[in-house]
Symmetry: C2
Subunit: 333 residues, 2 copies
């Protein structure tokens, strides 16, 4: 568990695209985002208060979060100088970078000397159990996609936010590094040892109040040959009561796999239900979330209406039109 709130480190990010993690934290957990800190030449700006490390501390920040992708797969000397200073001043540091903080001798030494913690959220820190399939109390919703990167995390976060607004009991359960940095906890599922994947998901989504919903962040796709095993571990370990189908209608082939067609929403529904019923015979597909960012407003409205007509399921783009109808559908179970 990462201590909050955060000061968000933007480094020398060339543009906003590189600052995806910081944007996610600002948008979904604004109460965790005390301010931002940049290096000279930074092309990203979250419109948070720009602070020095000391100003961040004075404002209550506990952890410096690396909110940006690094260039060329190295942690530069400029970065390291600032990170070491942060540890000296009393910050923990959290990172989802492929390069691990723990592999940098200077950072490890500074953290040890000052009694601070380096969080590499890509690396599991728990000895997860083997899944036992025992039925848990409370309810769980999982977003499954026709492909990777079609909006599963966004959908779960948007549903969680809507449920919080309505005073419903819900928890977003992060399964990837961005989600973990946003919420301060979770399971980096793609880095878990194969035998323990489903057990890690059970661990992440324990028994809860009968009227509590876990919104589980999806990963990969049952139809993506590179990552489908991770997805199936979510379907079986999460034993979802409800599935949301996620889709991006302009994708020409499976992400990173030229020549591989996306499944139809109907194929995804049938396959996901067949597999999810193994863990929970009562599971239902309750709605469809479409990422319409590459469609105009008119095209989006028309596409969503068409899909809703064909499937009979509430079909929305939660970014454009909110997650309210998906939450209505959950609430009706």
């Amino acid at each position: 568990m990462i201590e909050t709130p955060y000061l968000l480190f933007l480094g020398d990010a060339p543009d906003m695209l590189a600052a995806k993690v910081a944007i996610g934290i600002r948008d979904w957990r604004p109460e965790n985002a005390i301010g931002q800190i940049s290096l000279p030449g930074c092309g990203a700006d979250l419109k948070l208060t720009e602070m020095s490390l000391q100003e961040g501390l004075d404002a209550g920040a506990k952890t410096l979060v690396i909110g940006v992708a690094n260039r060329g797969g190295v942690i530069s000397a400029e970065w390291k100088e600032l990170l070491v200073k942060a540890l000296e001043l009393g910050y923990d540091i959290a990172s989802g970078l492929h390069n691990l903080l723990r592999d940098e001798g200077e950072l490890v030494a500074a953290a040890q000397m000052h009694g601070r913690t380096l969080h590499d959220v890509r690396v599991p820190t728990v000895a997860y159990p083997i899944a036992n399939g025992v039925k848990r109390t409370g309810k769980r919703c999982l977003a499954v996609g026709t492909d990777c990167s079609v909006g599963k995390m966004y959908t779960a976060l948007a549903m969680d936010a809507e449920m919080q607004k309505r005073g419903m009991k819900s928890t977003f359960r992060a399964t990837g590094q961005t989600g973990i940095l946003i919420t301060g906890q979770g399971v980096p599922l793609d880095a878990v040892i194969a035998d323990f994947m489903a057990g890690a998901v059970e661990y992440l989504t324990p028994s809860n109040d009968e009227d509590h919903w876990d919104l589980i962040e999806g990963q990969g796709s049952l139809f993506h040959v590179s990552y489908s095993g991770v997805t199936l571990a979510l379907v079986h370990g999460g034993q979802p009561d409800a599935l949301i189908l996620c889709h991006e209608p302009t994708r020409e082939h499976m992400r990173g796999l030229p020549g591989f067609d996306l499944p139809t929403l109907e194929q995804l529904k049938e396959t996901a239900l067949t597999l999810a019923r193994v863990a929970n015979p009562d599971v239902q597909v309750v709605g469809i979330s479409v990422n319409t960012q590459h469609l105009s407003e008119d095209e989006a409205v028309s596409y969503l209406a068409d899909v809703e007509n064909q499937t009979g399921l509430p079909t929305v783009d939660p970014y454009r039109h909110g997650a309210g109808r998906l939450v209505d559908a959950l609430d009706a179970i």
Copy 2:
């Protein structure tokens, strides 16, 4: 890759059941099994020549293979004394135990001093790639089960042996520690990091001659909530041309999961085909392998005939009646 041939270490195995790995090597790669070596009180006997370490070396053995499960999760002082002596004499050591050889200081020191290798086959030694789904040449057959431990490894080994006998081109591809020790190489799939599972299977089953068959050792089951993700990585990474369905008809519930029913063979066929077509649209289910060890000969013959009538697929117990008909079915593709 483990150097062959082997001297098989039986330790103080209480009985033959504990010597499963050694039995597998003797049965499937007899040319690798130079002899056996036991400790006082050993209750297992492979009927191989009992040898001292020196006699094994003189007969050509390169690696001492731990062919037995250890008791209580420790490597005892008696074992260690013999293992250190083996390293001194010039053996490598290979083990599939949960306790790693590399965690035993005395063994590590002796291996370093004498320039020998400790093979812990449960631990991946390769940085596997992310799967890319690119179509490979050659053919692949994967055994998929209604449950775990229903005879998938046995089926693949028996088919490989039959194909070798017929002069066909085939390779058994091990994905678990027993299979790896039997053949001297493979991928310990259940210990691979989630993101790289399917890539590890692609690595294991590369392009080959058009008339060459990889017989891929299956793991888990698509219907076993603890391990299904590993199975799906095999289905997608292996891009099989042929599937063999494996079943054990007296199983009352999924292994280790009370209350979880086994799927029918028809359900397994439909689900496995749907998922396997993602990686290879031409995949076929070509036969059924039934583990009839808990049935009498009459019951077995009758059960196999019933299943064959219902499914129209060649249905055999390769242990009882040989794998010939399964190989015929492969050969007909």
